[in-house]
Amino acid sequence: MSPDAHPSPIQQTPEDMLQPHERPSPASGPSTQPAPPKAGAAAGGAQSVAKVAHEVRLEGLRAFYGSSEQVKGIDLSFPANQVTAIIGPSGCGKSTMVRCINRMHEEIPGARAEGRVLLDELDIYDPAVDVIAVRRAVGMVFQKPNPFPTMSIFDNVAAGLRLTIGRSRRGELQHRVESALRGAGLWDEVSGRLSSPGVGLSGGQQQRLCIARSLAVDPEVLLMDEPCSALDPIATLKIEELIEQLKQRITIVIVTHNMQQAARVADRTAFMLTGELVEVGPTDEIFTKPSDSRTEEYVTGKFG
C-alpha cells in the first residue's frame, strides 16, 4: 500500500485492510489494556477505530540542552486509549519529556535525547526510523493556540493532509477536514465559514482548530502541552470533554500544571520533579493516597 494512501479510520475499516501489525497484538505487556470500545461514540462511525490501540513506553529517557540534563532517566508507560497526565512544578522537565515523544525536542539547536521511546514495539529513536513519519504518528497540541495566521479554517485543518494528498483527491480532502472538525467538536460552529481566517476564532475555538488540524492526519498518539493554560474556564471545559471522547480512538498524554484538570480528565497521572519521575499511578490514587511524600506535598499545595 503506498504511504500516501492510507484509509481514514473514520470510515468503516474492513479487517483485511489493516496491516497484520496494526491489529492489536495479544502479546502486549501487562500495563497495556486497550480500553473497550465504547458504544455510541461521538464521532460518527467510530466503532471500527478501537480495533487499533497504541501505547507509548519511555525507557531510560534522558534529554539534554547542550550539556545540561533536563530529563534524567525516565521509565514510563502511557497505556493505549487512556489519558495520562504529567504534573509537576515549573521547570521540572515535563514539557521537555513530552517533546521527546514526537522528536520535537531535537529541533532546538544543541538539544538531544538519549534512551528509548517505544511506540508499541518500535523505538522511534532508532536511526532507521524517519523522524517525519514519527511526527505524523504522534500529534501535538501546543500551549498557545497557533493556527497558521495566513490560512482559512479549512486550510488550517487541511495543512497536514495536503502534504500527502494529491490534488486529484479533493473530495477526500473535504471529507477528512469535516471529520477532523467533527472530531474536535468544532464542525457545528464553523461549518458555515470554512474559508474565513483561522485567527478570527475565539481562543478556545482556535485551540480546537489546532486539535482538528492534528487529528486530520490521523495520529496514533496525541500530545497536549498545557493546552488550556491560555483559555477561559468555559473553553477549557469544552476541551476536556473533547479529550474524554478522543481517548477512545487515540492515546493521549497531557501536560498540565492544573491539578484539578488532571483529576478531571486523566486516567493515570505521573508526577515529575526536577527531571525525574517521582510517582505514577491511577489518578485518584495519586491525589488521595500518594506513596511518595514529595507527591503528597505537591498535590496538597505545599510547593509548586
Binding site: Q19, A128, D130
Partner: protein, 293 residues
C-alpha cells in the same frame, strides 16, 4: 520489519525529492549571491595591487592622459581630499544627527511634530544621492553665485549621512532602559546631566557603530560630489576651493582610453574599498562591545 510499522506515515519519495531539491536551490542561490563579491575582491586585488606603489600614494594625478610618455601621477590629492571632506561632513552630520535623535527619544513632544520629523527623516533616507548634490548646488552655487568648493561637497555628504546617523542613534537611544534614566533623575540630577552623563555614555558604543557605517557610506559616494566639490588634481588643504576625492578620481579615470589611467583607477578603487572595509571592521568590533544592542 519494525520500520514498516510507520509505513502509512512515511514520507513519499516525491516529497523527499522536493525537500532535497529546495535545499539545494536555496544553497545554490546563496552561493550565487556571493559570487559577485568574490569576483570584485579578486579583480580589485589583481588589478589594483599592481597599481600600488610609493609614487602612487605620494604624488598627485597630473591630469595627463597621453599614451605612455609622461607620468600620470598618483592619487595623493584624491585620498587627502576624501579624508578632508568626509571629516568635515562627519563633524557636521554627527552632532546634528545625534541631537535630532536625542530630541526624538528624550523629548519628542508634541507628538505630531515628532511624527513629522520622523517622516521627513524617512524621506531623507530615500533621496537619491545625486539629488543631495543638486540641493547644495541650488542653495550654495546658484544661490550665492559662487563656484565649487570642498566644503560644499562636505555639506552634500553630511545631508547623505544625516538620516543614517539619526536612525541608528534613535534605535540605540531607545534601547537605553528607562529605568536607568529614572534612577538618575530620582537622584536629583537635572535633565541635561542625565542625558550627557548617563544616557549618552551608555549608548555610545552602539551609536558609534551606526556612525562609522554612515562615515563609510559617505566616503564611497561620488554623485553628491559631482556638482559641489568640483574636481582638481592638486592636493588642497583649503576646503573653500575645488577638491579632489577618491570616488571622483575613479569616476574620471574610468572613461579614459589610456591603460595606465585605468589601472590607476583600479588602484584607487582598491584603496577606497580598503578604507571602507576597515571602517566596517571597526564598526563591527565596536558593536560587539556595545552594552545595548
Amino acid at each position: 520489519m519494525s520500520e514498516d510499522r510507520l509505513a502509512r506515515f512515511a514520507v513519499s519519495p516525491r516529497r523527499r525529492r522536493a525537500d532535497r531539491l529546495a535545499r539545494g536551490v536555496l544553497l545554490a542561490a546563496t552561493l550565487v549571491a556571493l559570487v559577485p563579491l568574490v569576483l570584485i575582491v579578486y579583480y580589485l586585488l589583481v588589478k589594483g595591487l599592481g597599481a600600488w606603489s610609493w609614487n602612487f600614494f605620494t604624488t598627485d594625478p597630473t591630469g595627463s592622459t597621453f599614451f605612455g610618455g609622461s607620468s600620470i601621477g598618483g592619487i595623493k590629492s584624491a585620498i587627502l581630499g576624501t579624508l578632508e571632506m568626509v571629516a568635515l561632513a562627519s563633524a557636521i552630520a554627527i552632532p546634528i544627527g545625534v541631537g535630532v535623535a536625542l530630541w526624538l527619544v528624550e523629548y519628542g513632544q508634541p507628538a505630531w511634530f515628532a511624527n513629522t520629523v520622523r517622516f521627513f527623516v524617512d524621506v531623507l533616507t530615500g533621496v537619491p544621492s545625486i539629488v543631495f548634490g543638486l540641493f547644495i548646488y541650488i542653495a550654495l552655487i546658484i544661490g550665492t553665485g559662487s563656484t565649487y568648493a570642498g566644503y560644499k561637497g562636505s555639506l552634500a555628504l553630511s545631508l547623505l549621512m544625516l538620516p543614517v546617523v539619526i536612525r541608528s542613534a534613535e534605535v540605540i537611544l531607545q534601547l537605553v532602559p528607562g529605568a536607568l534614566r529614572e534612577s538618575a533623575l530620582a537622584l536629583g540630577a537635572p535633565r541635561w546631566k542625565v542625558i550627557f552623563r548617563v544616557v549618552l555614555p551608555t549608548a555610545l558604543t552602539g551609536m558609534l557603530t551606526g556612525i562609522l557605517l554612515a562615515v563609510a557610506r559617505a566616503a564611497g559616494e561620488t554623485a553628491p560630489l559631482l556638482f559641489t566639490a568640483g574636481h582638481t588634481n592638486q592636493t588642497s588643504l583649503n576646503l573653500g576651493s575645488f577638491m579632489n576625492s577618491l570616488p571622483y578620481q575613479i569616476y574620471n579615470d574610468v572613461t579614459s582610453p589610456t591603460t595606465e589611467v585605468v589601472n590607476r583607477a583600479w588602484g584607487a578603487a582598491l584603496t577606497l574599498v580598503a578604507m571602507i572595509l576597515i571602517l566596517n571592521l571597526i564598526a563591527r568590533l565596536v558593536a560587539r562591545r556595545s552594552r545595548l544592542a
